[in-house]
Amino acid sequence: MNTLERFRRSYFFYSFKRDKTALVSFSIFAFLVLVSLLAPVIAPHDPYDTSTIDILDAEIPPSWMDGGEDRFWLGTDIQGRDLYSTMLYGLRTSVAIGLGAVIFQALLGIAVGLTAGYMGGKTDSFLMRIADIQFSIPYLIVAIIASAVFQLAFGVARFAEMAMPLLIVIIGISEWPKYARTVRASVLGERKKEYVEAARVIGLNRWRIMIRHILPNTLTPVLVISTIQVAQAVMSEAALSFLGLGMPITKPSLGSLIKAGFEYVFSGSWWITFFPGLLLVVFTLVVILFGDWLRDVLNPKLYKG
């Protein structure tokens, strides 16, 4: 039986097919990720190509409203960019930052959690104390202060240039303790098991035991929190950009689009904020719903609250 066949017959796939919420939310999630990846192909305009943008096109309402034009399906933003295309590119940036930040924080957290859990003793208490201390300060405060410091250190222009990798690092740093705690907890459960003992008797070195033997058995909880963390990271990116500490307006992300439109909502141009906002909510919602389902399936012991 090959892997695909095994997957198709698994309980995981069976319950996925039966659960309507999981099916719908995963389909929407997959669709949004696909659309964002294909943004350069699908989008009718390129928001990064300044030669096609005309400031005279600014604030045109969606095509079905009075004054709307067929060229711009969802209208245009304050700089005259086609809102639909800009949103696709914005989603692409947000998803990239979200996934990047989760991968970064997972790597950092897993490394710390694995080391702390396996080594124990002084290393453990030292590393986990750091995680505890950071955990006691809300992640948003950490992220906001970190990006403020980066922005002052690099200057606004340089920061805008490197905004994407910086945001991945900032959001990653603000959330790693969650992974460290989760991984450490499962490592403590695995460490005393016989297969680890056996590996040690064979004389494998501790890094090999940690990475090849223990790590694979701790990945289920990591997977469970990762989905929720993607939603969290996308929200953090939006919050930071909204505060002016994230993506600049010239490089659209969902957050920076909302920020750009915010001041124009009250003069009647509601669509500049509404559509990116809706997209952000839908994306976060489907990720959360799928994450909830994943948690219930992979961890049936958990109480469904």
Binding site: Y139, I258, W270, G277, V281, G305
Partner: protein
């Protein structure tokens, strides 16, 4: 117990030292106090002389110890933009933020308990299903979108409530309060509602699941068997035991509420600490930024230490587990 308290306090001091070290390193590497103090026309020699006089050419560690000593005396430097001591600026902005947090805490407590208890008692009622559905969606809506929607509906379209600023405030012993004037309270409504929107879904769910768990316990079954009045069982027997864990979580998570004031204050132009912080970033006011970092860090360290010590009193397990 005494040893536990001492250890927690020592830990808190170490953490504060680390935070102050980071803060100082930030100030040392980005800020230029000379630029903040003098104009462009001052010559290079004069600047150097001033640097020497202020001790800015001292070794890093000497300067750091001076920074800590000043911080202990409540002196966190001078804000370049406000031209006032940072502590003074932050203290003058703190009441606005604290009142915002208090306002939304009141809304959260008033709203979540009835709804949570109701949906625990009648989980199949249409209202319970509606709130459960709404709270799932609610988690995914960022606070600034709620705030913008509220301003759009109640501030712009209906024109019922003021949508920015704090309105009329009264000064009581240096504390600018908006709670005592009608105008101040009207201004507080929209910001507090949008700030509370991040916690409402979570708390309704928390209270519901806690209450449902309590309703399944033996002593509630026994109370039913005794034939007690159902209101008495729900409100006196079950609710009381739901209260404790929920209040504990609320006490711990009030910090998260504080974090989100930054977003709420930006949308509503609320003149609090968060708004001040973002202004400081825009104006490259490094001293104020570092001071904010120290104050906020200190606040969280203080809250956590107090919470831990209180737990230590209530639950001896914590003391033993921590002792090793």
């Amino acid at each position: 117990m005494f040893a536990f308290i001492v250890r927690r306090i020592i830990e808190a001091i170490i953490v504060m030292l680390v935070i102050s070290f980071i803060g100082f390193a930030v100030q040392h590497s980005i800020g230029d106090p000379i630029r903040d103090m003098v104009g462009l026309r001052v010559s290079v020699e004069d600047r150097e002389a001033l640097r020497d006089k202020l001790g800015l050419n001292d070794p890093f560690l000497t300067q750091y110890f001076r920074f800590v000593r000043n911080a202990l005396h409540g002196d966190l430097g001078t804000s370049y933009f406000h031209n006032k001591p940072c502590t003074e600026v932050i203290l003058s902005k703190a009441p606005a933020t604290i009142e915002l947090v208090i306002g939304s805490s009141i809304i959260i407590l008033l709203f979540t308990f009835p709804v949570g208890v109701f949906s625990a008692i009648w989980p199949r009622h249409w209202f319970s299903r509606l709130t459960m559905g709404a709270s799932t969606v609610g988690v995914a809506i960022p606070v600034f979108l709620t705030a913008i929607a509220l301003i759009y509906v109640f501030g712009v379209e209906l024109n019922w409530l003021p949508s920015y600023g704090r309105g009329q405030t009264v000064n009581i012993g240096g504390w600018e309060t908006g709670f005592l004037t009608v105008d101040g309270i009207l201004h507080l409504i929209l910001p507090s509602v949008s700030l509370s929107s991040i916690m409402l879904p979570l708390y309704i769910r928390l209270i519901r699941s806690e209450m449902m768990e309590v309703l399944e316990t033996e002593y509630i079954k026994f109370a039913w068997a005794k034939g007690l009045d159902k209101k008495r069982i729900w409100l006196v027997h079950a609710f009381k035991n739901t209260l404790l864990p929920v209040i504990t979580v609320f006490g711990v998570e009030i910090g998260i509420l504080f974090a989100f004031t930054l977003l709420t204050e930006t949308v509503f132009q609320w003149q609090g600490m968060g708004f001040m912080f973002l202004e400081a970033v825009e104006r490259s006011d490094t001293a104020l930024l570092v001071a904010y970092m120290m104050v906020v860090g200190g606040m969280f360290v203080f809250i956590n230490t107090v919470v831990d010590i209180t737990y230590g009193f209530v639950n001896p397990m914590v003391r033993i587990a921590g002792a090793k």
